[in-house]
Subunit: 460 residues, 2 copies
């Protein structure tokens, strides 16, 4: 470690005492996420307790151009927390206060380290809930930083639609509020959405003000199978145009269902399967599901099941919830790597079909499909032997073609996982050199010393 | 005119021929909006026909640091189009092509000069519609540039929730696409939302890709009166928490109803009145309205009326639609000036009551209230004799206190009209000096020569 770094760490230690540590194990824990990306430990980890402490850490690091990597729950999957240039990892997980809750305004303000499960536990008896569900029990700060979305996004949007305001520590050590708590505003530039999805490259999100939603009177669930994925997509497209409102609509392919049957000892029909959820009044959820059932039958859907009973509903969705575990169990000793493109619905069937064809031609190992089908976002998940160079190289080539295919269909290289380390080269392909350069110019204006999560989103 | 300006205009004339004009009348038409702000004509008006032409105009102007002011329909109300430093007004109104429409994707791409009425006429037989309704028949480009919203925002959001992507000409003369057509993306910084609401200060929006919505099976309308505005607000708060979904919910105060009665020769009950609209299935809109009626009665609502009949519905809303004309007629020869703060619902009753008290103490002339109540956004509209210095000075003091009151209640100085010229000094009050400086830094990074609508949003 050079003298400059040592000097920074000395200052951080004076600020935080034992909450600043260079312990090797702790640093390695903070240099990895849930992805294939190599562990890249920071030089030091700072466990911060307040926005002001975050600001103070940034001020110290900025003076020395010392890299800073924000860390939430570490559940991201594109290497966002890997400290590829060393520096200080700012661990937000001890900032877990729910600092304000308003029933009347249906909003709350939480520190960045609050997890979504903690928040929903807190809200349990209020009649309100926070809908975004990326699967993992991520922190709200991390979810904002990566613009998390998931199964409910088709109805409730992503983090961009559910964050009213952020408190952010800038690299300069200043703390700003990106917006008021008003439900809408036309005052100045949208700093809130600029920081959402910026993956820690512009500043550290310390507090988040969230829009909450009322729990509806009733929730119903449904499931329907198709012999052909294209029929499932036509069903969804037609239902959306008819104005049917899903709370969730998820697709698993036949291979995925087969893996679930093996893993959970179930006997689901091994076909492409849609899982649905409806939120509304008791009569409303029955009506919406009924309409959907009729449309599904028109497009060849079979084995239609529907329930408004809570236990049956959980049962009906359990296959979907077991998908991740079942996938991993399909090839023991291997790691699951998920692609994440998102295309307009009109291109979805073709994009999936051509990708499947490409994979079947080149890949001899297990793979399966999960789709947030209402958004046009799908994940082909590959089970890869981490030590096989041949598998990685085949995967990388397939992946590259998949991204180009999605971009060629007016889609994006990442629907919800972010750019991180793994997709940096696709940024100029998606936005053109001018668009990517514009983002880089914004980054330089806000973080001139490039201390904030350097090497993420942009290649340099 | 100096030699530099003359040289720029020569270049623009060579590019556009007669579509570049310094005609005095045309320039004056382009230097005014629908507000109280003084006419400030540009030196020249450019009627552009393509994104590439816009880019070429910007390139010429940027080389000479010549100001550029984008112009749509001129229906903005905060002086956004006033060319306070002269320069070139870029008139987008001849770029009226609907360049792409996809039924399956429920989206379309339009040139910036398409108006919202033109778009909805085009969509009439598709079963889809574009919901944002700011009242005026604004251009879609202008609506994006000012983050327009309006009566349907409580259900469908503002422009930020309904624009998928923009094509933007940067000051450098480059054209970029801010996003793909995917329904969601976590790729890089949110350039789309950065340009939405930037009021022409960062670049010129040349094309807009919009999310469309399915027309629902049924639409119903309702109206209910309250002797006290606070009761109306409690009703709305309670209904929102119960998960009732309004398509629109608007409030007019008793003075406004009285003005409408005089103007339209109607005999509406002269009380604070809520106007509602519900979108959904036939049974759904009846159910939602019925639930709302019960809640309204609990909080003292009277004269409840409901209909699902189209003619009756138009009739029921006609008072609301006549509000703007009735307001102006209430004091002939005077101009209507609207305030535009937006606060969390829990503060709305107090904010309105204290503002009303303040106005009644100091203002002896007509004023009335319109509120997009579900969003917490309200407009006290003042009828001002434009030649009376006393009235202006009283108004300005009231306005200043209103903004400070709203900011003190976690609100914003502008819910939907924007900063423009009139609210520049409130930007640092709302975001702090650091927040406003951050916006300024972004502006400088994108528009280093400060050619884009200079003097708007920021005071310098």
């Amino acid at each position: 470690m050079n003298r400059l770094a040592k000097n920074v760490i000395d200052q951080l230690s004076r600020l935080l005492g034992k909450r600043c540590t260079a312990n090797r194990v702790v640093c390695e824990q903070h240099g990895r996420d849930e992805s294939r990306h190599e562990v890249a430990p920071p030089d030091v980890v700072c466990f911060v307790h307040s926005p002001e402490e975050v600001a103070a850490v940034l001020k110290i690091c900025n003076r020395a151009s010392f890299p800073v990597v924000p860390f939430g729950a570490g559940t991201n999957v594109e290497g966002q927390v890997c400290a590829i240039r060393g520096g200080a990892s700012i661990d937000m997980s001890e900032m877990t206060a729910i600092t304000r809750f308003s029933q009347a305004d249906m909003d709350c303000t939480v520190q960045a380290g609050v997890t979504r499960e903690q928040l929903n536990d807190y809200l349990r008896d209020t009649g309100l809930f926070f809908p975004i569900d990326p699967g993992a029990n991520a922190t709200i700060g991390g979810m904002a930083a990566t613009n998390a979305s998931g199964t409910t996004t088709v109805a409730y949007g992503s983090m961009k639609e559910n964050v009213l305001a952020l408190r952010v520590a800038l690299p300069s050590g200043e703390l700003i509020n990106t917006a008021s708590r008003a439900r809408k505003s036309s005052a100045g530039y949208d700093l809130t959405r600029l920081f959402i999805g910026s993956e820690g490259t512009l500043g550290v999100i310390t507090e988040v003000t969230l829009r909450l939603h009322g729990r509806t009177e009733a929730v119903s669930a449904a499931r329907v199978c198709f012999s052909d994925i294209a029929e499932a997509i036509e069903t969804v497209t037609s239902a959306m145009q008819s104005g049917i409102r899903f709370a969730r609509i998820e697709l698993l392919d036949a291979t995925q269902i087969r893996a679930i049957n093996r893993y959970s000892k179930t006997d689901y029909l091994e076909q492409a399967t849609l899982f649905l959820e409806f939120h509304g009044s008791a009569s409303g959820v029955a009506e919406q599901a009924g309409l959907f059932g009729v449309i599904a039958a028109e497009f060849g859907g079979s084995d239609w099941q529907w329930t408004a009973n809570e236990n049956e509903r959980r049962q009906m969705w359990s296959a979907r919830h077991h998908a991740a575990f079942a996938t991993r169990a399909a090839r023991p000793g291997c790691i699951a790597v998920a692609t994440d493109v998102c295309v307009p619905l009109s291109h979805l069937a073709e994009c999936i079909a051509r990708t499947r064809e490409d994979i079947e031609t080149h890949w001899r190992w297990p793979f399966m499909l999960t789709a947030h089908i209402g958004d046009g976002n799908f994940h082909y998940v590959f089970l890869i032997d981490p030590d096989s160079e041949a598998e990685w190289s085949t995967y990388n080539a397939l992946y590259e073609r998949l991204v180009d295919r999605a971009l060629g269909m007016s889609g994006t290289c990442t629907g919800e996982h972010g750019i991180g380390l793994g997709k940096r080269k696709y940024l100029p392909r998606e936005f053109g050199e001018s668009g990517a350069a514009l983002m880089r110019a914004i980054k330089s204006a806000i973080d001139p010393n490039n201390i904030m999560n350097p090497g993420k989103i942009f290649e340099n």
